[in-house]
Structure formats: C-alpha cells, structure tokens
C-alpha cells in the first residue's frame, strides 16, 4: 500500500492514536485527586516503515502501551516507614490514655494520695488518743487503696482493650492479604493478554500501602506479575494465595502464628507490632510495677502496724492495717475500718504513745523497693515519669518517621502524581496533533478529489 491510501491510513492512525493519548490524559486529570492513583502515560511509537524504491516510507504512529509511572524502590521505602510510623503512633496514642489514668502531676494522683496517707499518720502521732485522727488515717488509707485499685483497673481495661485491638488488626490484615491475593489472580490473568492492568495494579499497591500500616511487610514481584508479600520472613501472599494468620499465647506472650500450622510470624512493627509491644511488654510492665509498689507499701505498713498497739483494754496488737498484696486487692483491713481503736499508734499500749504512728509516717522515707534503694514515692514517681518518657520516645519516633514519610511521599508524588499543568500541556499537544491529522485527512480527501476529477 502506498500513495494516497497510505496518507489516509497514516492520518487515521494519527487520529486514533491522539485520541487514545487524550483519553489517557483525561483519565489522569479525572484521577488527579484519587488516593493511590498512579499517573499513566500512553507510550507512542512510530509504526514500521514500508520499503519503496526510494527508501523507507513512514506509516504513522500507534500507541505501543499504556504504562504506570511508578518507582518500586520508593514504594518499599514508604511501606517500611509506614510500619515504623504507625507502630510508634499506636503506642503514643495508647500510652497517652495510660498517662491520663496516672493523672500526674496533679492533686488527684496517687502521689498526692500517698503523701496524704503518710501525713495522716503524722496527724495521728500528734493525737494518738483521739478517735477523729484514727478515722482520718482509715479514711486516707481507704482513699489510697481506692487510688491503687482505680489505677490498676484502668490499666487492666487498657490491657484488655489491646486484646480487642489486636483481634481487629488481625482481621484487617487477613482481609487485606486475601484481597491482595485476589488482585494477584486478576492481574496475572489480565497480563496474559499482553496488556498492563494499570488500575488493578494501583488497587493492589494501595492495599499493600494499607497493609504496611498494619504490619511490617516486604514485597517482591515474581516473574508472572504476582506480588509476594512476607511478614518477618514468612510468606503470607504469593501466587498460591494468602496465608491466614491468627494469634496464639505462648509462654504468656501473645504471638502471631499461621492459622494452618501455628508457625510463628515475626511481627516487629506496624499497628500490630505496636499493639503487641504494648500488650506483651509495656502495659504488663506498668501493672507489675504498680503491684510491686502496692505490695511493698502494704507490707511495710503492716509490719510496723502489727507490732504496735491500739486503744482498748487490753490494747489490741498484731493487727494488719491493710489487707491484700497487690494494687488490685489492696484495702484497709475491714476490722480496723469498723473499729478505729484497732489503729495501732503506740509501741507499748499506752494511749498517748505515738512511736508506731511516727514510724509509719516515716515509712514514707523508708527505702523498701528495688533492693531497698527506693522509697515508695521515688518508685512511683519514676514509674509515672517512665510513662511520660515512653510516650515521648514513641512520639519522637513518630514525628521523625512522619518527616521521612512526607519526604518520601513528595518523591513518590513527584514520580507518580498527576500534575494538572503537565496534563493540560499534553492535552494541548495531543489536541494540536489531532487537529493536524484531521487536516491531513482533509488534504488526502482533496487529493482523491483531484485524482477523480482527472478521470472525469
């Protein structure tokens, strides 16, 4: 084919190609604000030339392919940072609630309650014979016990809600991996036709980004176009499908295992990683310290108290002031609460003696914790401030990773984002080409007319 028909054919190809290019541009413009959309490009190439006596004659243009502009390396970086960031943010958020439970520094926290408790013993020491001082000691003891119980309950609630969070995150992860596996199947099927299923790939990348916020993943692509997703070395999505995950408790620690054969999956970051750290380590750590503190306080006060004497004839002795051994069950001995005369202030049974009351008041300064190196107040203050430090360290990880993420997202958007200015420029370019090609049809038409007129 040559001559006029070739011109017409070339013009037709140009029209169709520019149309295709404009349609890609319009797809880009339409999705300029779509989350996870990757800009597409119509790759144009010249169609094979024809050999004529005088040389090769061009035959026009065609759309060779429509491809996504995406940098796989940046995707990997973004996903890695996503995992770190959401792990830190999860911890920061949950710990902020823990911090609110501690409610320090304030007049309503345990620190004030402990001081008030010990001060009430000093009050008793100045009036050991007086029943109102005894009632005050019982009241402060009750408030202190309630303070410990309240904090313990709130931390336990937080702990239990972490369990729900983990279950929720797990089901999201399983959902996402099975969706990614489905997309794998669709994409592989589409690719056998030779075309790039760009929008399916966008959807899969989007899901991978979502998944990376939940758990630490690494992603690779196999030769067939399927992505292979693994968590801590364990493959969870491959061409063969998705591996369902579940939780198991091993040695008191909640672990993530495969549902099929209970193989441990090494989760280190992401929301799930943050949840696991909180659930396995951080919150139980606070709870055990709180129990240790309550235990030491109860023990110290009881030791001093049971050696002392209350009022009455004969004066009572050997009474424990507190019952319970932990923050959860700490309470003022019911017998003492019912009979204030059982409060032991005296070391020898005389009603005006206050040595035991003084000793208990002084127990505030007794180093009874951490191998007898810390007072109850020091221990509690360091516990409360460790919550603050934990929040700050999670917060600074979150902030710095957010900065990295912003930078990465900027780079990613620089590669994959839709720039309207650019699309408009392309549009004008394609439109002009289209105009020119139409003109070509016109010219060819006129040439045909001329030839036909010659024949007439």
């Amino acid at each position: 084919m040559s001559g006029l028909s070739l011109i017409l054919e070339t013009a037709r190809r140009a029209l169709m190609t520019q149309q295709a290019a404009i349609s890609v541009t319009s797809h880009n413009i339409s999705n300029a604000s779509t989350e996870g959309y990757t800009r597409q490009r119509a790759n144009l190439s010249a169609t094979p030339a024809l050999w004529e006596r005088y040389g090769y004659v061009g035959t026009g243009v065609e759309v060779e392919s429509i491809t996504r502009l995406r940098d796989g390396y940046l995707d990997g970086q973004v996903r890695y940072s996503n995992s770190i960031e959401s792990s830190a943010t999860t911890q920061q958020n949950v710990l902020s609630q823990v911090e609110a439970s501690f409610n320090e520094p304030s007049d309503a926290g345990l620190s004030s309650a402990m001081t008030a408790f010990f001060n009430s013993w000093q009050d008793l020491s100045t009036h050991p014979e007086d029943s109102s001082s005894r009632n005050a000691v019982i009241q402060q003891g009750t408030l202190l016990s309630q303070g410990f119980q309240r904090l313990h309950t709130e931390l336990t609630q937080e702990y239990n809600s972490m369990n729900d969070d983990i279950a929720g995150t797990m089901s999201s992860i399983n959902q996402l991996t099975s969706e990614i596996s489905d997309l794998n199947t669709q994409i592989v099927a589409a690719q056998t036709t030779g075309a790039e299923p760009n929008d399916l790939e966008d959807a899969r990348d989007s899901k991978l980004d979502d998944l990376s916020k939940l758990v630490n993943i690494s992603v690779s692509t196999d030769t067939g176009g399927s992505v292979v997703v693994s968590i801590g070395g364990m493959t969870v999505v491959s061409r063969g499908g998705a591996v369902a995950l579940t939780t198991a408790v091993v040695g008191g620690q909640t672990q993530i295992v495969t549902a099929k054969d209970n193989t441990k999956v090494n989760v280190t970051s992401g929301e799930l990683g943050g949840d696991l750290t909180l659930y396995n380590t951080t919150i139980p750590g606070y709870l055990s310290k709180l129990d240790e503190l309550a235990g030491a306080l109860i023990n110290r006060v009881n030791t001093l108290h049971s050696a002392g004497y209350g009022l009455g004839t004969p004066p009572s002795t050997g009474t424990n002031f507190f019952t319970g051994t932990t923050a959860a069950d700490m309470s003022v001995n019911a017998a003492v609460a019912a009979d204030p005369s059982l409060v032991a202030a005296s070391q020898d049974g005389s009603p005006g003696d206050n040595q035991v009351a003084l000793a208990i008041a002084n127990a505030a300064n007794d180093k009874v914790l951490t191998g007898n190196t810390m007072t109850v107040a020091q221990f509690y203050n360091s516990l409360a401030s460790s919550v603050g430090s934990d929040i700050n360290s999670a917060g600074s990880t979150a902030t710095s990773t957010q900065l990295v993420l912003t930078q990465l997202e900027n780079q990613r958007s620089s590669v994959s984002g839709v720039s309207l200015d650019e699309e408009m420029t392309n549009l004008i370019q394609y439109q002009h080409s289209y105009d020119a090609a139409a003109r070509l049809v016109n010219v060819a038409d006129q040439m045909f007319q001329t030839v036909l007129n010659m024949v007439q």
Binding site: F102, T115, Q122, G352, N354, A364, A384
Partner: protein, 298 residues
C-alpha cells in the same frame, strides 16, 4: 522535581496543622499557667514536681505538727509556772509558821497548804487538747488522784497513774522533738504531793515544819524549774524549727514555680511567633493554590 497539585495542598495543610497544634499547646500553657500539665510534657520535670509537691505537703504537715507542739509545750510551761508560784507560797507559809505563831494560826496555815495541795493536784492533772500534760504517754488517764482514808487518824495518799514516757512529734524529715515532761520528771512522781501532804498534816497538827521539809520544798521547786527549763529549750527549738520550715516552704515553692510554671513572657513571645507563622502559611496557601495553567487557557 515535579511538583503536583495534590502535594502542594497536602504540604500547606500539614504546615497549617503543625502551626495550629503548637498554638493550642501554648494557649493551654498560658491559660493554666503550668508548663508541665502531663508527665509527657517533661518527664524529668514531672518527677521533680511530684517530689517537690510531696515535700511541700510534708512541710505543711510539719508546720502543723510544730504549732501543735508549741501549744502543748506552752501549756505545760505555764502549768509548771503556776505550780512554781504555789511552791513559793508554801515556802512563805513555812517561814511564817516558824516565826512563832500560836497553834491556831499554824493550823490555819495548814489549811492554806491544803488548798494549795488541791490546786497543785488540779494543775498537775491539766489537759491540753484532750491530752494530760504530765501523764507521760498515759494521756487519757488522770495522772494524779488524792485518796483520803477516814482513819482515825485520817491520812491522804496520792497515786500517779502516768508513766515517764516521752511524747515526740515529727518536725522534719527524720527530725523529732520531745514536747512533754512527765509527772515523774517534773514532780518526782508523787514526791512533791507527798511533801505537801506531810507539811499540811504537820501544820494542821500544830507541829512546826522541820528544816528537812523546808529543804525538800526547795528541792522540789528546783526539780520543777529544771523541768520547766527543759520545756523552755523545747519551745526555743520549736521556734527555730518553725522558722526553718517556713523558709524551706518558700524555697520549695519558688523551686516548684520555676519547674512547673509557664514562663509567661517566653510563651507569649512564642505564641506570637507561631501565629505569625500560621498567618504566613495561610497567606501562602491563598496565593499559590488557585493559579494553574487552567487559569490561562481559554
């Protein structure tokens, strides 16, 4: 680098958000007057604040203890003063009796001593704020009781139900202060009252006082004064402690303020700065968001 519209919008939103976040934080600090409102605001400072608050609370308690102790010591002191002047009266009576009186006059002097005895016992049984002053740590039992056996001859015995226990108050971290002197210390247990009974009985029987009795009254007065002297020392020490506690409170409060409170000048300046930055971000947003190639295409 290619810059896309989506990122521009995101970046502007981000910087506006950041500026707002900081502004809210600063406003909170200014409104509450506290720089540290929760532990994570400054963990190290929070620990200091909790420690300082506990010290302040304890300081308040110690000041309360000290003022309570002052009351007790002062009350005991004035009781001892009263008793001392009673003993002086007894000494005068003994001098009068020696100066050769008629028997009836000596008996009358004996009756006076009886009155003094009753007063002395009543003073020794004084209570302060629900506590006996001179019963040692037996603060709820009346320390001295006079019992008259009808006889004949009628005899009076005195019993001491207190002990020699010391009452100590906490007046500082690890610091205690004794506040009482017991009947055993100040009156030699029952010695003073037995002496008064003997003198009274002798005078009422018309017997002139012996030199030994006169000397004994002086000795009792000396014991009394020694105890009063001890109380004086306690009182002085309490005054010193009180002054010390007050200056400690001032120091603690100033430390607390510098650790916890917002530096208003600094925070205000910072707030102004942040607001300027927010305005700048918003103005930039208003300027750069609208224009694109679309504005120039017709």
């Amino acid at each position: 680098m290619r810059i896309t519209e989506g990122r521009i919008a995101y970046d502007i939103l981000n910087s506006v958000n950041n500026a707002r976040e900081k502004i809210v934080d600063l406003q909170g600090q200014l409104a509450s007057g506290k720089r540290v409102q929760k532990v994570s605001d400054d963990p190290a400072a929070s620990e200091t604040i909790m420690r300082l608050q506990a010290s302040l609370d304890r300081n308040t308690q110690y000041q309360k203890n000290v003022s309570d102790a002052q009351g007790f010591v002062d009350s005991a002191s004035s009781s001892l003063d009263d008793l001392n002047s009673l003993l002086t009266q007894v000494q005068e009576i003994l001098v009068q009796a020696e100066n050769g009186q008629q028997t009836s006059a000596v008996v009358a002097l004996g009756n006076q001593v009886d009155g003094i005895l009753q007063q002395a016992v009543s003073i020794a049984n004084t209570q302060f704020n629900g506590k006996t002053l001179f019963g040692g740590t037996q603060t709820t039992t009346t320390p001295y009781a006079l019992t008259t056996n009808p006889g004949p001859p009628a005899t009076t015995t005195v019993t001491y139900s207190g002990n020699s226990g010391a009452i100590t108050y906490a007046v500082g971290d690890g610091a205690t202060q004794q506040v009482n002197t017991s009947g055993a210390d100040a009156f030699g247990g029952t010695a003073l009252f037995n002496l008064l009974i003997r003198v009274r009985d002798n005078l009422q029987a018309g017997t002139l006082p012996s030199a030994a009795d006169q000397a004994a009254v002086k000795t009792s007065a000396a014991t009394l004064m020694a105890a009063a002297g001890k109380l004086g020392t306690y009182s002085q020490s309490l005054t010193t402690t009180s002054t010390h506690l007050q200056s400690q409170e001032t120091q603690l409060q100033s430390l607390m303020s510098s650790t916890r409170d917002t530096d208003v000048a600094e925070a205000t300046l910072d707030l102004t700065n942040r607001q300027t930055m927010l305005n700048a971000a918003l103005q930039t947003a208003a300027k750069i968001l609208p224009p694109s190639l679309l504005d120039y295409l017709s």
